[in-house]
Symmetry: C2
């Protein structure tokens, strides 16, 4: 509910247009002004600079249709303030699923209505200031002088106050699966080339100081600052390009590898901002343009989360709050999911998605699948799937993912092949009717898989039939995938059109009561508030990379600060047989201890959690697996007990609709001693506590499978001292008696 609304009279003198609003608790202060006609803002937290004076605006592209006489004018300068409004908003809403049962959305808002007299155009910049940061966006009212426009580049600046430590991914139009880099801002340029995995053919970087969001930073005076975006709808995904002393112009051309993107050679006409300033850089379409807009419209929110306590970064709901309320009326069919699946053994290389090796390539309409020669390595077969269904039923898992069930995997990726899958035809050894009936008879559902190979037109052509098939056989969730280059060629995973596609899939799925877990899709920006059937995304480096060479032990204590700000990740934890060579030819190992794997079910929040290892591996570690059986996936409350980016995270969560708590702690390669005070328990009540911890000599490399399981009774006020091994962690279940 909107509590107050104050109309500030039109201020026509451009120099005098300063406006200030603060957060409800007064700690966050935002100043807006016009500097020589340029919209400018700055942000402080408890008096410390968070964003120094930074300009706002957009460069527009000259459209070919506008080329006959009409020149396009940028929305950068020449503005005057027409009016400003401030207001306060405070409401509490209930997410369909989440870390807490309710979420408070409390902010002060400043609406600045600007006009550009030379063009007779009007825009609005809206700021919302929360106790933990701020969001700002551009709004373009419908008007005769601004109906359709093309964005050459958004020029939103974030001027940092110093040479902060930053955890960053190389800015890239197509992949987010790199490892996070930790450097000072001044070190980004030097680190950049080693940070890019040039072996990944999807790499499409654009500048040696370009980074992705969400970007987590820490200042020398103890502030944690995060820059990301919220509600990215029908707009290109934002990256940040940092200006340093060596920056010649935006965007800089990369010298690098053969996959490097060659940007528009026309440099911006505007002067470079000062060093340590990030400037927004949108994902282009195939022609290099950044967006096609029609008024009335608005950009996503550009968000800055800030606190002097790292735990606040993790408990922040700023991004969810900046999204629109749920648009699905009946959400009764949306539910958290704990699942296993026919997947890890293919990732590790022991079995295959494809059914035959007989042909150098295939065309779906030219093959009689009943006559082809099986390769004997096809995992998604009736026998194996039944085994997984039995396993899920026995262990209380809700669903079983089966990848490789449908024809087309023989030559599916990176071939520029449009008609790669039809999403409805099973391989001959996958009896879709029998297997679904078998699963349902045991109280389990199958989880659908739609790998699109990024052939988006092909997916959209088959989507309705594909969802109809799901409805027919009783699937209620789909894992979709976008491996490889986008078809149509020239488009990118994070462009305006692709962001529209991902949301289209979610909306069409909702019509069919289907939950979506999209892999390789764009990084989330809180859209799961509006479309809670978006129960998961990958959009980062998941557990699969442990089979591809490994990820650093601190990877999972960075992701909650960065990738998870926008929404849950289908990280696929739970690899208890961390040495892959014990059961396969894969020489790699998982870079955590077993206890660390258990901790991820708590530290990596998601309503969709996989038990990703093989049933036979879980049988080997059945006592540890008990925690995966027990742990909840939806919560009434969550308390971040300690946190430091790239070092450690400890969280306690109260299982939905119960009095039971689960506590998890995860650390980096240095180990960590956690002291967990159980002051969140109910007073006077006793609890059965089971502690899954690293053994004394555990180590993610040398001794990852050494864990202890301790049971005791606990009560409010007790303290648990839990030593995490290097690359380790712990998991605790606290069940009310």
């Amino acid at each position: 509910m909107r509590i107050t609304s104050i109309l500030v009279a039109a201020i026509l003198a451009t120099g005098a247009a300063a406006q200030t609003i603060t957060s409800p608790d007064g700690n966050v202060k935002l100043d807006f002004s016009l500097q020589k006609g340029k919209p400018t803002y700055q942000l402080t937290y408890k008096g410390k600079d968070v964003v120094k004076p930074s300009h706002l605006g957009l460069e527009l592209a000259k459209d070919k249709h506008a080329s006959k006489g009409k020149n396009e004018t940028d929305l950068i300068d020449g503005f005057v303030v027409q009016s400003t409004n401030t207001s306060t908003f405070d409401e509490t809403w209930k997410p369909v699923w989440g870390e807490t049962a309710t979420i408070r959305n409390h902010y002060n808002e400043l609406e600045v209505n600007l006009s550009q007299p030379a063009t007779e155009r009007r825009i609005t910049i809206r700021f919302r200031v929360y106790d933990d940061g701020m969001g700002l966006r551009y709004e373009f009212p419908q008007q005769k002088t601004l109906n359709y426009f093309l964005i050459k580049e958004e020029r939103t600046e974030f001027a940092m106050a110093g040479d902060h430590i930053a955890w960053w991914l190389p800015g890239d139009y197509d992949t987010q699966e790199q490892e996070t880099q930790e450097t000072r801002l001044s070190g980004i340029r030097e680190r950049f080339n080693t940070a890019v995995n040039w072996e990944n053919s999807s790499v499409a970087v654009f500048s040696p100081t370009g980074v992705q969001t969400s970007l987590q930073m820490k200042t020398d005076d103890g502030l944690y600052i995060n820059i990301h975006e919220a509600a990215c709808i029908d707009y290109a995904t934002m990256h940040l390009e940092m200006v340093d002393a060596q920056t010649k112009n935006l965007s800089e051309k990369l010298g690098g590898g053969s996959n490097a993107y060659t940007p528009d050679p026309t440099p911006s006409a505007y002067p470079l901002p000062k060093p340590f300033t990030f400037v927004s850089h949108l994902t282009p379409d195939a022609t290099g343009l950044k967006g096609a807009m029609q008024t009335p419209c608005k950009t996503p929110w550009r968000t800055v989360i800030v606190s002097d306590d790292a735990r606040d970064m993790l408990s922040s709901n700023l991004i969810l709050n900046l999204n629109e309320p749920c648009k699905i009326e009946d959400t009764s069919w949306i539910h958290p999911v704990k699942y296993c699946g026919v997947w890890w053994e293919m990732i590790v290389g022991k079995s295959a998605w494809n059914y035959t090796d007989e042909f150098p390539s295939i065309k779906l309409d030219q093959i009689d699948w009943n006559k082809v020669k099986p390769n004997g390595r096809h995992a998604a077969n009736n026998e194996k799937v039944k085994r997984y269904i039995d396993f899920a039923a026995k262990n209380g898992l809700d669903e079983v993912l089966v990848e490789g069930w449908n024809v087309g995997w023989e030559d599916w990726a990176n071939m520029w092949k449009r008609d790669v899958f039809d999403f409805v035809t099973p391989y001959p050894d996958f009896d879709i009717k029998m297997l679904n009936e078998y699963a349902h008879s045991k109280g389990v559902k199958l989880l659908m898989h739609h790998e699109t190979s990024s052939s988006t037109q092909n997916y959209e052509r088959h989507m309705e039939e594909a969802y109809n098939l799901m409805n027919k056989y009783g699937y209620d969730a789909v894992k979709s995938g976008y491996v490889g280059d986008i078809i149509p060629r020239g488009d990118h995973h994070y462009s305006q059109s692709m962001n529209n596609h991902y949301l289209y899939c979610i909306q069409e799925a909702a019509k069919h009561h289907v939950m979506v877990n999209a892999h390789e899709a764009v990084r989330p920006t809180g859209l799961c508030r509006t479309w809670p059937n978006l129960v998961g995304n990958e959009s980062a480096r998941g557990t699969e990379y442990e089979a591809f060479g490994g990820s650093r032990p601190d990877h999972t204590v960075i992701l909650p600060f960065t990738r998870l700000q926008g929404g849950p990740m289908d990280f696929t934890p739970g690899i208890l047989e961390t040495q892959l060579s014990t059961w396969s030819d894969n020489p790699n190992y998982v870079h955590t201890t077993i206890a660390g794997q258990l901790a991820l079910y708590l530290t990596m929040y998601s309503p969709l959690q996989m038990a990703a290892d093989l049933p036979e591996n879980y049988e080997k570690y059945d006592d540890a697996f008990q925690f995966i059986r027990d742990v909840a996936v939806d919560w009434d409350d969550s308390k971040y007990l300690e946190a430091e980016p790239a070092d450690y995270i400890t969280v306690a969560r109260k299982a939905k609709g119960t009095d039971n708590w689960f506590v998890g702690g995860k650390c980096d390669e240095n180990g960590h001693l956690s002291v967990v005070k159980l002051d969140f328990l109910d007073k006077g009540r006793k609890y059965d506590c089971t502690i899954y911890a690293d053994a004394k000599d555990a180590h993610y490399q040398s001794n990852p499978k050494a864990y202890t399981i301790t049971r005791k009774t606990v009560k409010k006020g007790d303290t648990l001292k839990l030593k995490q091994a290097p690359g380790g962690g712990f998991a605790v279940s606290i069940i009310a008696k």
Copy 2:
């Protein structure tokens, strides 16, 4: 049926690999050889050079996925002949609709199997030689060394033997609606810039010597030569780039206007062929590449039609014959259509497609159409549509097209607006149920209209619902449109992906028993043989241009030699009120006489013919309109009596299933005297003959509406002397007694 097949033993010596085949009548001779490893062909007609020795091949693009170590090799040279096969084919097939009841497909074939030892790749070049020309195509068998490839450019050469006269359109990736130019080959470069309508924002030309196909030529020694293509499926449309003395490299960069395309700056590594040689130039995708292929696959046929009699160019079925037989099993729902429609008055500017002028732009999901303010100019309203239905019923027309029936026309074109139409929501003044029932009660159908605004993704998303709506209300044909730039941005109207889209629409329509008449789509290449529900295309400058400034009088005596080679055109003839200012504010006039308009129903063959003028105009000229009422639109036989490109065409056609004949003659701005011998009539039979002719003093500019109607009885052997005025023509109905 394949009559003979001769296996020629493998010829390994590259120099000795010459092969010759001739047409069944021996007049057309094709020689194939390898010249220093380059596939080379030449073509003669009655001993005269048609195509001098010309190379064949494709340049391949280096894929980013192949960039790691693997270099791509062109399919241009280094070939040896593995084997050759010759065979003869002779069959007669029945088109679902057409100019004749049966079509003979009789050719000699040469199959040349080549290998490139350096790459271990194999390709086949297949030649089919007919009495009236030849077709050749590349075939790529499935093989381990050639699975997927990207085409940088196809390099099929057509070396002309002299400085022929050519009728050409500027080569363009997005429009075919320019006027035809007549120059010597050596004059193309000089004429080019004046030939391009730079005012048309769709212009996307690529070279100052680039031309479109079908390209009609005439040699100084009396040969007529036509170059086009057949069966263009999932492949980019071919243009021709001419090498002249000034050609520096292929493709040349155009200096021209702001809409000019900037081609790949990397020139071909291969030497330029000799002057007067055309080299194929495919339409690129957004990244500049020309095609993504997967073996087994083949290119479209590259066709050369040749004769020393211009009439043979018009009666040729070579392009239809090179297409695959009909793939629709039950064709009973496909039928010729004579129609009128709510269209011309909008083209002329008297009424409007859109319903309201209230908003600077609209979003479909944000408007309550029942509350908006009508502009009072919306043509597709119940009252007017009923009037057209009454008119159709009274005059024996089968269907009524209604454009502007559905919401979205307020801001539909060239705005890069993706969600521009939904194809199912009528404006409030168009009662879709009532109007269809009203039409059906009078034995008439409505003809659906789907303007896509070239937002192809939006169209595909709504297509199933749109066709379902048609089925629900009893529509059986759709006119679709592709005005404006293709969305996704960067794509072109004639690219591989768009050609795939057009065919997808036709195939999906066939599932719904819907006939398709696609405007602004790619120029046809005979696909209507395979998919006879493709009953029409625009793909050239239609009658609408008479309201936009006019077309030259010779336009319609060029189109049958060029545009119509690939399939019928929905030219929309029949404008009897040639002075538009008599009923509107439009100052333009139609550049034919009234008799010339009637002639077009015969000279511009199509199974779909519009009576394009307004009912009230037809009432003014009801005696002339009688011919439009009477004329058939499907034929058992057609005889081209005289023809000369850009001068005149006279044809006699026998109406399907009857003994009645209709004869039409059309000429250019110079007038023409036709002497029509009625030796095609049945011997001993009498016929009622009605002659619609230009009056003595008729002239398309000064006196276009002067016509005479003469009735007499005729018999076989009679002769009609028919004088056509400048820009005039005649139409004759000959009804068996």
